[in-house]
């Protein structure tokens, strides 16, 4: 499982880091981001790369989101 910590990074760096990780074709990836907008951006990009969002958990105390991505079975 690859984990990307993109918390607090400006657009479009969380998306770029996720894209780079997905290019290695992993089955599952976890991405940490701080803002809702980054959740939307990472989700949009992942879908275009044939990955699905399995879950988005919000850590309210620390103020970040944990996105679980998984490769779609063909």
């Amino acid at each position: 499982m690859i984990e990307i910590d993109a918390r607090g990074l400006s657009c479009p760096i969380p998306v770029l880091q996720t894209k780079k990780a997905l290019e290695k074709n992993p089955t599952e990836v976890t991405v940490l981001v701080s803002a809702k907008v980054q959740v939307e951006n990472v989700t949009r990009m992942a879908r275009s790369k044939n990955y699905e969002v399995k879950s988005v958990e919000e850590d309210k105390k620390e103020g970040f989101f944990k996105i679980h991505l998984a490769r779609k079975s063909k």
């Binding site: 990074l9 400006s10 479009p12 939307e40 949009r44 275009s48 103020g63």
Partner: protein, 369 residues
């Protein structure tokens, strides 16, 4: 179509519509200047002038649109529970980048939003500027691919995110009351005094829609831009970088609605010459907007997006906004800013300097992967 796409296209369309409405006589005879329903750079510059940070008399007015955008973004982010005080991602560099973005915008005479509005009014100089903007974004994209990163922003105590919105509320009170702080500051030839808070008597700064209309239009744009993440630099950047036209579709919606709105209002006049608040120096329209495109990509968003992020608690974006305000003051005090007569020697020099500085900032902030 996904809901997200509908939101961004609808938001772009409403921004385009309001931009036209602010330049037509619906609530009285005074309106915003032509092709300038909104211009983030020009309006921050006018606001800097109103406070006397520069003394270019034709461009001094607290623009309620700017205040409204931040208030709107603040309201939307509170309602959507997205308000978040954060900062610490290279704040001084962001201030500097904001300054240079303003220098570029004032060489061209408009921010990316006004560039779109100028094209929608038939101003073909805007098309040259668009080519420059795309070129600048492209350089920014190359730097991003090389690992450019200004570092993480960290959560801050809530009060930090409220500082800029609080300043905006103070400015709103000043805009409504227009107090005279220093009657001796400037006596006009006709015996009247033009004192801080300044408000232009002639020139673009004197052309403005009624305060309440401007303020409400700004709030609407702020709410929509926070909700839809509308960003002009992001639109071009994502199209090139990740083949994603999501944000670009908002950009196109602004253009389409503004163009048809201008057609209906009889305001479309195609050509390079004689366009309102514009000059025809193609090379410098290109270079000025290239600087805006490059600087905006390094900041992570265009001037509109910086305002919106500042409204939702991002203090790094507050610094970029303050950098733009300082940049506007420098640009007029030091004669960097263009006028309809054309660019200045200093303006051309600072535009080139700005591109060099931005590329250096880009190269010196690469992160090894």
């Amino acid at each position: 179509m996904r809901k997200e796409s509908i939101v961004v296209i609808l938001s772009g369309g409403i921004v385009g519509l309001l931009s036209v409405l602010l330049t037509v006589k619906i609530f009285g005879d005074n309106t915003n200047p032509p092709n300038m329903g909104f211009c983030i750079a020009c309006f921050e510059r006018d606001t800097a002038g109103a406070l006397g940070l520069h003394r270019a008399e034709p461009v001094q007015y607290i623009r309620p649109e700017i205040l409204g955008i931040i208030i709107g973004a603040l309201i939307a982010s509170l309602l959507l529970r997205e308000f978040r005080s954060e900062g610490g991602s290279s704040p001084v560099l962001r201030f500097l980048l904001g300054m240079f973005v303003m220098f570029g915008a004032l060489v061209f005479l408009g921010c990316p939003l006004r560039m779109v509005l100028r094209i929608a009014g038939g101003d073909l100089n805007g098309l040259i500027a668009l080519c420059g903007f795309i070129a600048g974004v492209l350089v920014g994209v190359l730097l991003l691919k090389a690992g450019f990163n200004l570092g993480r922003a960290y959560p801050l105590k809530t009060i930090n995110g409220w500082i800029l919105p609080a300043i905006i509320i103070v400015l709103l009170i000043l805009a409504i009351t227009v107090p005279v702080f220093n009657p001796k500051a400037s006596a006009l030839p006709d015996g009247r005094t033009n004192s801080p808070i300044f408000s232009s008597i002639k020139g673009p700064g004197s052309q403005h829609a009624p305060l309440l209309f401007s303020l409400i239009a700004g709030i609407v744009v702020g709410v929509l831009a926070q909700r839809s993440r509308l960003c002009f630099a992001g639109g071009v950047r994502d199209t090139i970088l990740i083949r994603d036209i999501h944000l670009l579709s908002g950009f196109i919606a602004v253009f389409a609605v503004a163009f048809f709105g201008n057609l209906i209002a009889g305001k479309v006049k195609f050509g390079f010459e004689g366009q309102p608040i514009a000059h025809t120096e193609h090379l410098w329209n290109f270079v000025g907007m290239a600087l805006v495109g490059l600087g905006s990509v390094l900041l992570g968003g265009c001037p509109l997006r910086q305002l919106v992020l500042a409204g939702r608690g991002n203090t790094d974006s507050s610094l970029a906004v303050l950098g733009m305000v300082a940049g506007a003051a420098f640009a007029h005090n030091l004669n960097f800013a263009s006028s309809p007569q054309g660019t200045t020697d200093w303006g051309r020099a600072i535009a080139i300097t700005g591109i060099v500085v931005c590329v250096l900032i880009g190269l010196l902030n690469r992160e090894k992967s």
